[in-house]
């Protein structure tokens, strides 16, 4: 049981759905591609379009306050308990009685149409908002049929990793409403809960210097993942995470922990989130004003080489080497593996509960960011500050847009407020009851409220809260606080640009990535990866780089 939807719980859902896209950092920064579209943003234009940030004074005080890192980086606040008497954040009824339709993706079972939760929420919102959740797994094919017929609903969520499928860059302005006049600069102050969303998150809704999208589940701690370890097992052997300060330390630790006869191997797959230890760029790097792809760097080859050695060292679980990803968490819970890379979405209450079920001492920990040589400053590349973006229909009248933005303001009420409690848990006594102070779903609540719908239209910035698993919140927030200073924006961070289909295929570089995977599973040598890269560079890779240089770097810079 989690307390409402936050960014991390969303990521854990999305990771299973987005699958390859979530696992391949290569694709994540490339906005996507299609035919006609709005361009990226200029520095001044972006600045003018973005709303002014104003923290929410009425928000519940967190137990762990956010720790600031570099620009736009901060940890999410942590809460150990749920407020007994939730304060009110929005006064009055936001709506004026308008009727609207909304479409959001849904990964799970759809709540019944016109259920008591929808009714209760519509009543307090003062609008007739008819929710039409659509199957999340096929969402990328459902939306294009609506756009082709120009029949978008009044309000829709368009996850940014599908921007190329949706042709979002071509829809803004023609089918999606320009919100710049309503939200840019100080205009946003009319909607204080929206003004409290981090600026970096709004950036994902800006196309061609105009603001179109409202970010959901925004965060200033866009860290995609980490290298996890079994804290209970390691500490029982007197090993603490801070003893690992280099890649060699990690390898030696692995050798010490592996006991194949007992069926224990230290490592599961770690490549995806460990490669930054070698300072491998997240897709691109700028050297002397020129674009360099990660495949072209020496750091990349060094990282691959270490992982090849790891795969052949006998410290990696054979099933992991056999590419069995699906059972990775089972291996981790049962202590068959002790060190595993993974998305941060995994570090939450349900993970804690699954782990405890397998081993009652279970405790997840994450290694601090390290540099491979143990001397340089570690780097953690920031992911998007929001990837679930909602848009309004361009055919809405200004008064209607204002009405829906007021509704969005209500939906973005911060953690622990009365509004948040209603949106996340429904009506007390009907959809949830308090069990030891923790809002807990009733059967009706599980049916009507648990599936995320309204928060996909607008939601407050994410928080860390695991009621019933305070240890998880403490562990997570202290790890985040220790690592936030290493957060670094990769080039083109938060930039919306779209590339043609053929180049999106080039960016996916299937042959290089296949060979790479074979290499970090010990089946191919580093030289094979080099060969694959060489042939990629001479063909699609070269075209990709040229396009990025001509259409993004030279026109708009790196967005930093």
């Amino acid at each position: 049981m989690r307390s409402g939807m936050n960014r991390r719980s969303f990521l854990s859902t999305a990771a299973t759905v987005a699958g390859a896209a979530a696992m391949a950092p290569l694709l994540s920064a490339c906005g996507g591609g299609s035919t006609k579209k709005a361009g990226a943003n200029t520095r001044e234009g972006l600045k003018a379009a973005l709303p002014t940030y104003a923290p929410n004074a009425g928000a519940v005080k967190p137990d762990m306050v956010p720790v600031r890192g570099g620009s736009d980086a901060a940890t999410d606040p942590g809460f150990l308990s749920y407020p007994a008497a939730p304060p009110t954040s929005v006064s009055g009824v936001p709506g004026k009685g308008g009727s609207y339709t909304a479409v959001t993706p849904l990964w799970g079972t759809a709540p019944p149409v016109g259920n008591s939760f929808y009714q209760a929420l519509n009543k307090v919102l003062g609008v007739e908002l008819s929710m039409k959740p659509a199957d999340g797994i096929n969402y990328n094919t459902i939306v294009p049929t609506m756009t082709a017929a120009e029949k978008l609903p009044d309000w829709i969520n368009l996850p940014s990793w599908w921007n190329s499928n949706f042709n979002t860059g071509g829809l803004v302005g023609s089918q999606l409403a320009d919100l710049t006049p309503y939200l840019s600069g100080d205009n946003v102050k009319k909607y204080p809960n929206l003004a409290a969303l981090p600026t970096g998150a709004w950036q994902n809704g800006v196309w061609g210097d105009k603001l179109y999208g409202i970010p959901c589940f925004s965060t200033s701690f866009g860290v995609p993942g980490a290298t996890f370890y079994r804290r209970d097992v390691l500490e029982a052997r007197g090993i603490t995470a801070d003893q690992v300060t280099s890649a060699d330390d990690l390898m030696n630790l692995g050798k010490e922990l592996t006991d194949a006869k007992r069926g224990v191997w230290a490592f599961d797959d770690v490549w995806v989130y460990l490669q930054t230890a070698w300072n491998v760029p997240m897709n691109w790097r700028i050297d002397n004003g020129k674009l360099v792809h990660m495949f072209e760097t020496q750091e990349f080859l060094e990282a691959v080489d270490w992982h090849y050695r790891l795969a052949t060292s006998g410290c990696m679980h054979p099933d992991a080497l056999a590419g069995d990803v699906a059972n990775g968490s089972t291996r981790f819970y049962s202590g068959k593996t002790l060190i595993a890379g993974g998305g941060l979405g995994a570090w939450n209450l349900s993970d804690h509960q699954s782990g405890i079920a397998a081993d009652q001492n279970y405790r997840r920990g994450a290694f601090n960011a390290v540099s491979a040589d143990g001397r340089s400053t570690p780097v953690v590349y920031m992911g998007a500050a929001a990837s679930m973006i909602s848009y309004l229909n361009a055919s809405l009248k200004p008064a209607q847009i204002e009405e829906l933005l007021a509704v969005a303001n209500y939906l973005a009420a911060p953690y622990g407020t009365a509004e948040y409690t209603l949106i996340s848990f429904g009506v007390e006594g009907v959809h949830h009851t308090r069990v030891n102070g923790v809002p807990t779903f009733t059967e009706e609540g599980k049916k009507d409220v648990q599936a995320t719908t309204f928060p996909f239209l607008a939601a407050p910035a994410s928080v860390i809260s695991n009621p019933g698993g305070e240890q998880v919140t403490r562990d997570y927030t202290s790890w985040a606080a220790a690592n936030v200073r290493f957060l670094t924006k990769p080039p083109f961070w938060g930039m919306n640009f779209s590339m043609p289909q053929a180049l999106a295929t080039a960016a996916a570089a299937p042959n290089v990535n296949d060979t790479l995977k074979d290499c970090y599973h010990g089946k191919k040598k580093v030289s094979d990866v080099q060969d694959a890269i060489a042939s990629w560079r001479s063909g699609p890779g070269g075209r990709l780089k040229q396009w990025m240089t001509d259409n993004v770097l030279d026109k708009y810079g790196t967005g930093q």
């Binding site: 499928n165 054979p318 056999a322 590419g323 069995d324 053929a502 299937p510 089946k523």
Partner: protein, 315 residues
């Protein structure tokens, strides 16, 4: 088709089609749903072939995608990964033909010789069962038993015998997938041969036994000739499908042995076409496969006719 089919009546004048229509009305009606399904799911989607000659963009649809002629094929034939996938497909198909094809025949003969009804039913149930497992389950069972951390290797490891790399060795992958296929599908494959066996006139056996023919002679002179038509038919179908060696089985184990050993034409279309958004490229690879398959099945059928067998249809 089957050996039990009656001989075609010689010199029989054909009835007027109208009379035949009236006579077979209910039979024809019964075939309508199957024909409709075939049309909707097999013939209508054929239209999608045009995407192989386009730079297909799902956003603008088939009608408005750019026409590129044979560009996709040109790129395809210049792609070493494609030739590697084709080579793998042919090699796996050959290995399966040699090692898999005879197994159901042998099993059917064996089963046919078992007289006890109970043992026969039990045996049949056991060998049919794996057919109903999904490939995910089948591969998981193999991984649990023979994988690097599986039952066998853990036993070997604990007794310091040294491990045996079965599941992740690209060099023996063809044998692995064939043995998986035998385990999963051979039992199911015997059904058609059992049907053919039951159609052999038992009086022939009695007459042969009365003439003093032993088991081996009876098998050689009665059983095998009786099965020949079905065996040739299955062989023709198998050859026609030579380029379809399976999809899920390879998809699931691709990471275990690496893409070079596991990529067959179908997974190639998937990985290098669909999953990277290069739909037209995948369609081109698929079309190539279909054309070659058509030629193969045509050739195999001709060969069957040349040997005086029915093949797919009677000449």
């Amino acid at each position: 088709m089957s050996t039990a089919a009656p001989e075609r009546p010689a010199g029989h004048t054909r009835l007027n089609w109208r009379i035949r229509l009236r006579r077979d009305k209910s039979l024809l009606l019964m075939t309508v749903p199957a024909v409709v399904l075939l049309l909707v799911f097999n013939y209508v989607p054929l239209f999608g072939i045009v995407t192989a000659f386009q730079e297909y963009d799902p956003l603008v649809g088939v009608w408005h995608s750019e026409w590129v002629g044979f560009d996709q094929f040109q790129q395809l034939f210049g792609d070493p990964a494609f030739w590697a996938a084709l080579k793998n497909t042919l090699y796996l198909s050959f290995v399966q033909l040699v090692l898999f094809f005879p197994v159901p025949i042998a099993l059917a003969l064996l089963l046919n010789s078992v007289l006890s009804e109970r043992i026969r039913n039990f045996f049949q149930s056991v060998v049919y069962l794996p057919h109903f497992f999904s490939w995910v389950l089948a591969v998981t069972i193999f991984q649990q038993m023979l994988g690097g951390a599986g039952v066998l290797n853990q036993f070997l490891r604990q007794h310091d015998i040294g491990t045996w790399d079965i599941m992740t060795n690209p060099h023996t992958f063809a044998l692995l997938v064939t043995s998986q296929a035998v385990w999963k599908e051979a039992g199911w494959g015997i059904i058609v041969f059992l049907a053919a066996l039951s159609a052999i006139n038992s009086e022939l056996y009695e007459a042969a036994a009365a003439d003093g023919a032993g088991r081996v002679r009876r098998m050689w002179h009665i059983t095998l000739p009786g099965l020949r038509g079905v065996i040739v038919l299955m062989l023709v179908l198998r050859l026609g499908n030579a380029l379809s060696v399976g999809f899920e089985q390879f998809l699931i184990q691709r990471d275990a042995v690496g893409h070079e050993a596991a990529d067959v034409l179908d997974t190639f279309s998937f990985y290098y076409g669909i999953s990277t958004g290069g739909y037209s490229y995948g369609a081109a690879a698929g079309l190539f496969k279909s054309v070659v398959s058509l030629l193969l099945i045509w050739g195999a059928n001709r060969l069957a006719h040349a040997f005086g067998e029915d093949g797919l249809y009677r000449k």
